[in-house]
C-alpha cells in the first residue's frame, strides 16, 4: 500500500508538472449479460429470499489521466488513463446478508479531438480487469478453505463526449458522458461465486455494456 501511494504521488507530481493531468469521478451503469443471468438464477432458485439480490447495475468510478497534444494537429490529443469502477449487489434477508462486489480496473489509451471549441470527443481503447468477491454476513465465501474469487479480462472500446468549462487558466471542469462495450473472458468461478454452480447456466465469455457520466477536472497549465 505504501509503495502504491508513493508511486501515485510521483505520477501526480509528474503529471501536474506536465500540465495535462485530469481526474474524474463518475456514475456508471452496466449490463453484464452472463452475470445478470447468474444473479437471476440465484434469485429464482431461492423464493424464500424476500429481498432479491440486485443485478450489478449501478456503480461509481474514478479515473486519472494524462493527455498531450500533437504538433501537427493541435486539435487532436493522445493520452492514457487508469479507470476504476465499483459495482455492488447487496441484499439482506432477516439478518442474512449476501454482498457481492464487482471491481474493474482499466488502463486505457485514448485519442481526443475538439468537435467545437468546448466540445471534446474521445475514442478510448481499454484493457479492463475484473474481480468479483462475495461475503455472507461479512465473512468471505470459501471453498476448500480458500475464499472464492472470480477474475476476468477483456478489451473495451469507448466513445466519450465532454464539454469544457474553463474556470481559470489552470483548471477546467468538464461534464463527461461515455459509452463502453467490452467482451471479456471470465474464470468459471464467476457463476460459482454468484450461484454455487459452474458452467450450468452461464458461459465464461461475457460481454459488458455500460455508460457513465461524470465530472472531470483538468489541470491545463504547469505551475512552473
Amino acid at each position: 500500500m505504501k509503495k502504491f501511494l508513493v508511486l501515485l504521488i510521483l505520477v501526480l507530481h509528474f503529471q501536474v508538472e506536465s500540465q495535462a493531468l485530469s481526474v474524474e469521478l463518475n456514475y456508471s451503469f452496466c449490463v453484464n449479460s452472463q452475470f445478470d443471468k447468474a444473479v437471476r438464477v440465484y434469485n429464482s432458485a431461492r423464493p424464500f429470499l424476500t429481498s432479491k439480490q440486485p443485478l450489478f447495475r449501478n456503480g461509481i468510478g474514478a479515473k486519472i489521466g494524462y493527455s498531450f497534444p500533437t504538433k501537427k494537429h493541435p486539435k487532436v490529443q493522445y493520452g492514457f488513463e487508469l479507470g476504476y469502477s465499483y459495482f455492488d449487489s447487496y441484499a439482506e434477508n432477516d439478518g442474512f446478508i449476501n454482498d457481492m462486489q464487482l471491481h474493474t480496473l482499466t488502463p486505457r489509451f485514448f485519442t481526443s479531438t475538439k468537435i467545437t471549441n468546448r466540445f471534446l470527443g474521445q475514442l478510448i481503447l481499454g484493457l479492463p480487469n475484473y474481480g468479483m468477491f462475495r461475503q455472507n454476513n461479512s465473512e468471505a465465501v470459501t471453498n476448500d478453505e480458500t475464499p472464492i474469487h472470480a477474475f476476468g479480462i477483456g478489451l473495451s472500446i469507448r466513445p466519450q463526449l465532454s464539454y469544457q468549462f474553463i474556470l481559470n487558466e489552470h483548471i477546467s471542469l468538464s461534464p463527461t458522458f461515455g459509452l463502453e462495450y467490452c467482451p471479456f473472458q471470465y474464470s468459471p468461478q464467476g457463476e460459482a461465486l454468484i450461484n454455487q454452480t459452474k458452467g450450468l447456466y452461464t458461459n465464461n465469455f461475457n460481454s459488458f455494456f455500460g455508460f457513465d457520466f461524470g465530472v472531470k477536472v483538468s489541470f491545463l497549465k504547469a505551475r512552473k
Binding site: R40, A45, F48, L49, T142, I148, K198, Y201, F211
Partner: protein
C-alpha cells in the same frame, strides 16, 4: 437534410439502440417472475428434490401435486425419536458446505447448525492410529484413470492393508471401492463449490426441510400413492397409480431415486430412449445402512475409519444437545449388503459390537445400552443409499437428466450435474434445474 444533421440524428439513434434494451432489461432480477402458466404439474416423489420442486412451483403460482409412494415424505431424510434423549437422523444428516440454496435457507431461517470438525482416527492393521504410514490422499488430483478406487489404490502401492481405508473413502461417496471411478469422482470434486465444511443440525435435517419447505406445501403432498407408469404419448400426460387411479397432467417431474429408474419400476409409454435408460444404468447406486448404537460411556473416538464390518463410525452426538453417548455406524456398499444379509437387526448390531470390541478392548459390549438399524436398501421405494460416479460413466448423468418432449423432467440427487450429487442440497439444485427447464420451455 444536410450532412451534419444526418450525422447527429444517426448518432442519437445509435445511442438509443444501444442503451434502450439495456434500460428495459435492467429492472428484472429473476428469470421467471410471472410465468402465468395454467397447466398442471405432477411431481413423482416427495424427497428433497420433489419437495423443493413443489416449493418453487408454489412460489410461481403454478398448480402442482406431489405423489409419494411411502407413508411419509422426506425421501432419504428421516428422524427417529425412540433411541436416546435426542432425535437421530435416519438418513441424510450433514449439510455439506455452506454455499448452496439450502445453506442460504439455513442462514435466512436462523436454523442452528454446528460445524462437525471431528478428526479422523484409523483402524489400521489392528491398531487405532491418528495417521497412516502412507498418505492416502491420492484421489484428489488431475489425470486419474477411469478405473475403480480399489484398482487405483493398488496401482499406487496401497495393498490389502489399506483395503478398508479405501472402502471408507468410497463409502463416503455411497459406493464400493470396486465400483467408484477415480476419474469421474475427481471430475465431480472439481465442480464442487459448496464448501468443504460439514454441518450438523441441532434438530435434524428432516426437521429443517419439513419446517421450511414441506410445511408450506403440505396440502399438495399425496402420501401412499405409488405409481405404476407414465404415458406421455398424449397431450395430457397420464400417470397411473398402483391403485388404478389415473391422474392427468401437462408436465411431470420425476424425482424418484435412481435405483427405482434403474430397476424399471416405473413404466414409461412410449419407452424412454435407449440412451436414457443406459444412462440410468451407468449411474451407480449401492446399498446403504445407518446403525445407531447407544452406550453408557463414550469410549470411542469421534470418527473412526477402516473397519472391516463398518468402514466409518462417527460420534452422532456432535452438534446435538444430549447427555447420551450414541455412535453412528455409517455403512455403504458391500459392507451394507453383508450386514443386511445377516437377517435381523440384532445380528447386525452384534456384528458391529464385535468389531468395536476388537478396536476398544471389549468396551463396546460392556457399555452397550440399545441400538437401532435403518437399512435404506430394504425400503421398497428407495432401495439404496445415493448415486455415485461409476467406472465408464461418461456423460450418463447429463443424459439422464435431460427433459423428454418438454413434458417429462428428471430431478433428484443423482441427477445433479454440478458435482453436488449424493447430497440434499444437490437434490434441491436439480429440482431448481428441472423447474427452470420447465418454465423456460413454456415460451
Amino acid at each position: 437534410m444536410d450532412r451534419s444533421k444526418f450525422l447527429k440524428l444517426s448518432s442519437l439513434a445509435a445511442m438509443g439502440w444501444i442503451i434502450g434494451p439495456s434500460l428495459v432489461a435492467c429492472s428484472k432480477n429473476t428469470l421467471f417472475e410471472n410465468p402465468n402458466y395454467k397447466g398442471k404439474v405432477l411431481i413423482i416423489g416427495a424427497g428433497a428434490a420433489g419437495l423443493y420442486a413443489g416449493y418453487l412451483l408454489q412460489s410461481l403460482g403454478i398448480d402442482f401435486q406431489i405423489l409419494e409412494a411411502r407413508n411419509i415424505y422426506g425421501g432419504r431424510m428421516g428422524k427417529f425419536e425412540g433411541l436416546s434423549d435426542y432425535t437421530v437422523d435416519t438418513g441424510a444428516q450433514w449439510l455439506h458446505g455452506n454455499n448452496s440454496i439450502l445453506a442460504d435457507l439455513v442462514k435466512k431461517s436462523k436454523t442452528k447448525i454446528t460445524n462437525d470438525t471431528s478428526e479422523n482416527t484409523y483402524w489400521f492393521q489392528n491398531q487405532l492410529v491418528k495417521t497412516l504410514p502412507k498418505d492416502i490422499e491420492i484421489f484428489d488430483k488431475e489425470g486419474l484413470p477411469d478405473i475403480s478406487f480399489e484398482d487405483y489404490a493398488l496401482q499406487q502401492g496401497f495393498g490389502s492393508e489399506y483395503k478398508f481405508i479405501v472402502e471408507s473413502l468410497a463409502g463416503d461417496q455411497g459406493a464400493d471401492a470396486s465400483q467408484l471411478s477415480a476419474y469421474w469422482n475427481h471430475k465431480d470434486e472439481e465442480n464442487w463449490v459448496a464448501g468443504e465444511d460439514d454441518f450438523k443440525f441441532k434438530d435434524t435435517y428432516f426437521h429443517f426441510i419439513d419446517q421450511n419447505i414441506a410445511q408450506p406445501i403440505l396440502p399438495k403432498i399425496q402420501l401412499n400413492a405409488p405409481i405404476d407408469g407414465i404415458d406421455y404419448t398424449v397431450d395430457k400426460l397420464q400417470v397411473k397409480l398402483k391403485s388404478g387411479t389415473i391422474l392427468e397432467a401437462d408436465k411431470v417431474i420425476v424425482t424418484v431415486p435412481i435405483s427405482i429408474l434403474k430397476l424399471n419400476e416405473i413404466s414409461f409409454s412410449p419407452a424412454l430412449p435407449t440412451a436414457k435408460t443406459e444412462a440410468f444404468q451407468k449411474i451407480g447406486m449401492g446399498p446403504g445402512m445407518k446403525v445407531f448404537l447407544r452406550f453408557s460411556t463414550k469410549f470411542y473416538e469421534d470418527f473412526v475409519l477402516g473397519g472391516s464390518i463398518c468402514a466409518a463410525y462417527a460420534d452422532d452426538t456432535v452438534g446435538k444437545t444430549t447427555n447420551d453417548n450414541v455412535l453412528l455406524a455409517f455403512i455403504m456398499g458391500e459392507q451394507a449388503a453383508y450386514l443386511s444379509g445377516l437377517g435381523s437387526d440384532a445380528a447386525i448390531i452384534q456384528a458391529l459390537l464385535a468389531e468395536l470390541d476388537l478396536m476398544y478392548n471389549n468396551q463396546a459390549s460392556l457399555n452397550f445400552l440399545n441400538g437401532v438399524v435403518f437399512d435404506w436398501t430394504k425400503e421398497p421405494y428407495i432401495k439404496g443409499a445415493y448415486g455415485f460416479s461409476s467406472v465408464n460413466m461418461g456423460d450418463a448423468r447429463k443424459i439422464a437428466t435431460q427433459p423428454i418432449d418438454n413434458k417429462l423432467f428428471f430431478a433428484g440427487e443423482a441427477m445433479n450435474i454440478n458435482g453436488h450429487h449424493q447430497t440434499v442440497h444437490g437434490a434441491v439444485e436439480s429440482a431448481y434445474k428441472a423447474v427452470n427447464d420447465l418454465i423456460l420451455n413454456l415460451k
